[in-house]
Amino acid sequence: VRTERDSFSGLQRALHWLTAIMVLTMLFIGVGMVSTLKPAFLTLVAIHKPLGIAILALVIFRIGVRLWLGAPPLPGDLPRIQVLAAKLSHVALYALLIAMPLVGWGMLSAGGYPIVLYGPIHLPEFLPHDDRLHAILRTAHTVLAFMFFATILLHVAAALFHAWVRRDGVFRAMAGIGPRNQ
């Protein structure tokens, strides 16, 4: 049911901003928790795991919504290289949204850890208990986190470039405020 329109639907905008808050919270908790021995460590870890799984569930739903509702077209005069950058960065963001929780869950599985969400509620291990696998996934979790943060910064830079320099309505399509396309 793709319709030509100049803005994302309310549902898509809500999902976008909810994801943004959750992912930024997640990334800051992640780098913060692995750098402290203070009691906050336990609180942050206890938030990190269920929040990661919540993001995984949310992004699966979001991808379904995106396939169903589509996205407004990019401005016709956007240079091809910027169109390509926009498409690739969005694919990268979706890929990281899926990969980060799966790598985190897999890394705990391979490390022989129980994957506790809350109280007695825990997820099954979906990978074998294996040192080498744990080491690979643990490193991947860190590397992907930095790539994720860098990609988000690029995404923010591009959004602000559209809002303040190009003033072409792309920012408004997701934010609901800012310059209209003309």
């Binding site: 009691p39 460590f41 943060f149 923010v156 320099v165």
Partner: protein, 365 residues
Amino acid sequence: MSDEENPARHAPLSPLAVGGRLAVIGAVLFISAVAFVYVGGWLSPNRLTPGRMVAALSDRGGNPLGHRRNHAKGTCFTGVFEANGAASQYSVAPMLAAGRYPVIGRFAIAVGNPDASDIMGRVKSMAVRIVSPDGQEWRSGMNNIPVFVVSNPRDFYELTLTQDIDPPTGKPDPAATKRFFAAHPESAPFVEWNQTAPWTASWADQAYNSLNAFRFIDAGGTSHLVRWAMEPEISPTPVPHAALATMGPNFLEQDLFRRLADGPLTWHLAVTFAEPGDPSNDATKVWPPDRKRVDVGTLIVQKAEAEADGPCRDFNYDPTILPNGIAVSDDPLLAARSAAYAKSFDLRTSEVADYPYTPGPGDRP
């Protein structure tokens, strides 16, 4: 939609205005990146991070690569925890309900060098991982000391630094440890134990204490402040320190294998309940001896295996891995143990080449 044939309503930006707006965008990115780096500790050289803690633990001699960075030398065991149900009224933990639950555990000595002689093991430890049928886990790392040596992670870091190898001599500076204890009166009960407790030549005759306090949560949601201990059925056999020196480097593992060849070893899990005013956050202080103690079950150690291929090797005995019904107290050592054990685990799982598994027939090369 298309604006190609329509005059732009936005007035064109001057090059200066474009530059100014790009600068603001750059500033947003820069501030975000700095915030991220700050939270990650890279701007805080004095922050006590798990990495710094584990680095200090790794510098106490020998080659710790591939091994736990503390309690580096140990032996795996397997067995059963038989809960008698006496703790069920205090905690909903499934492995405290009457029944039998599998255990994978580890005996160790508190050294940084995995090749240390057992005579270096003044402090001995027992770690257990008890699994309930629904997949919940209770992991606990316990020591044969009545109190811990310090009350907080910063002091533990400072103490560890005094045990690090001094490059000119190749040994730790003994005066540094003395200076630490002189400046830390709260360590006195540990120091007294260290000087007076009899040595033994066995893991089997020692009692192992949780040291940190935890909370049992009962079915009504009420929290009970507790500590626990694994108490052996056999009594300790003191051995003069000089005699230990003649027993070879691995007498603890040999003793364990010998005893288990004759049959299982048994410990009783004794849970001590605090009274109001007993410290929950200071592992250097014992609770008064008249506190209520409940025998909640029996640990039966059936089999021991060398660590290299043993079932305990690839588990992190993080004492904050707890089932529903048991929770951490406000003891600051618990979070520090969890964070540092995780760092140690992440390091050693990436160092398998430094601590190979013994290849068995049919294994990949």
